[in-house]
Amino acid sequence: MVEKMNVSSVLDRYFLEMRQDVLKLASAFDRLRAGGDGESVKRDPRVVMLREAIGLLGKDEADLARRVQLVFSKPYDQNWRDSK
């Protein structure tokens, strides 16, 4: 059985890194806005994916890393042998 950290240990260790990662995202979105043309930013599919992924983080739910990965993933078609 592999041991896990408790909540307090996770926060003690990772809070500052998490804070930094949030600031990195926030500043990147500020850069987007500073780039002008807000409507084209909103429509860019990469921004749509980013906002969807970030929206997941705001939920108090499980399995976030896997779900964020799937936001950024092309879908799988079980009939790919016919379509490729």
Partner: protein, 283 residues
């Protein structure tokens, strides 16, 4: 702690990296054949590359007490050229019997195209005929989920495949369980921007355990860090995991998997040896 680096492209790294890895406790590396940053123009170019993998790198590594092993294939990106790929596949058998050659890899998909699938299947067929281990590259970024599922479909549809002789590499949070549930070995790659970090790898160990899981740095010609595997060791220790647990991932699992290869020729240090590895033994 001694460790094995199961996936690194030393042909693209300077010798200083062997020095650093040796200092950090690396005793062996496994180097898959890969895309060298440009599309090669001929099968003879691949033949020279395979000679570099099987003749030159073992000597360079040995200067620093590191045992070098390798894999042979034409990688997924260059597999888009089907005619060249078939020429390269035809010369692979010349290299399979060489000391230190662990099997066929890293085969797989890149952009999940029909040509890539064709060449992947032909590599798999060769591996089944020659009874070799297989190392699989799963695509990067947005192509990884689709590509991994396609790869699992291909392997799962071939009754000759033994999952315990296949390693699905570069798994991440959305693909690791798919590969483990199908019975394969998996590798987690710690690589800037496009793949995991040591912390995320540690998270997945905590979630899925250590069975059939390896970690690697996949150091290559891009910005990458051969010290990511020692950094994983440090991360796990700092989280309170025992050296036994960490050693399972960075030493014993690579030995367990690689020792199944006909070309496995590594004598691990005494502290890394253990009595039995299921259906294979470490000398």
């Amino acid at each position: 702690m001694y460790y094995i680096e199961p996936h690194i492209h030393m042909v693209s790294r300077i010798t200083d990296d062997y020095v650093r890895m040796s200092r950090a406790g690396c005793v062996a590396v496994s180097e898959p054949a890969f895309w060298a940053g440009f599309d090669r123009g001929s099968a003879s170019a691949f033949s020279d590359y395979f000679r570099q993998l099987t003749e030159v790198e073992p000597l360079r590594a040995a200067q620093f007490g590191i045992h070098h092993m390798c894999w042979i294939c034409i990688n997924a990106k260059e597999a888009e050229n089907v005619s060249l790929s078939r020429e390269v596949i035809s010369i692979i058998p010349e290299f399979l019997g060489r000391p230190g050659v662990l099997g066929i890899g890293e085969i797989g998909l890149n952009k999940n195209t029909r040509n890539e699938v064709t060449i992947l299947e032909e590599h798999v067929d060769l591996a089944m005929k020659t009874d070799e281990l297989i190392l699989v590259h799963t695509p990067h970024l947005e192509d990884k989920y689709e590509g991994t599922r396609m790869i699992l479909d291909i392997l799962g549809g071939d009754s000759r495949i033994r999952p315990d002789r296949v390693l699905i590499d570069h798994v991440e949070e959305h693909t690791i369980q798919l590969a483990l549930d199908a019975g394969f070995w998996v590798g987690m790659t710690m690589y800037p921007v496009t793949k995991c970090t040591p912390d995320r790898a540690a998270d997945m160990i905590e979630r899925y355990g250590t069975e059939r899981i390896l970690v690697n740095s996949a150091g290559d010609w891009g910005p990458s860090n051969p010290m990511n595997t020692p950094d994983f060791i440090r991360t796990m220790r700092s989280r309170g995991h025992s050296d036994d647990t960490v050693s399972e991932v960075v030493a014993k699992n690579p030995l367990r998997f690689f020792a199944r290869a006909k070309g496995f020729n590594f004598q691990p240090p005494a502290s890394m040896r253990f009595e039995q590895l299921e259906d294979s033994t470490v000398p």
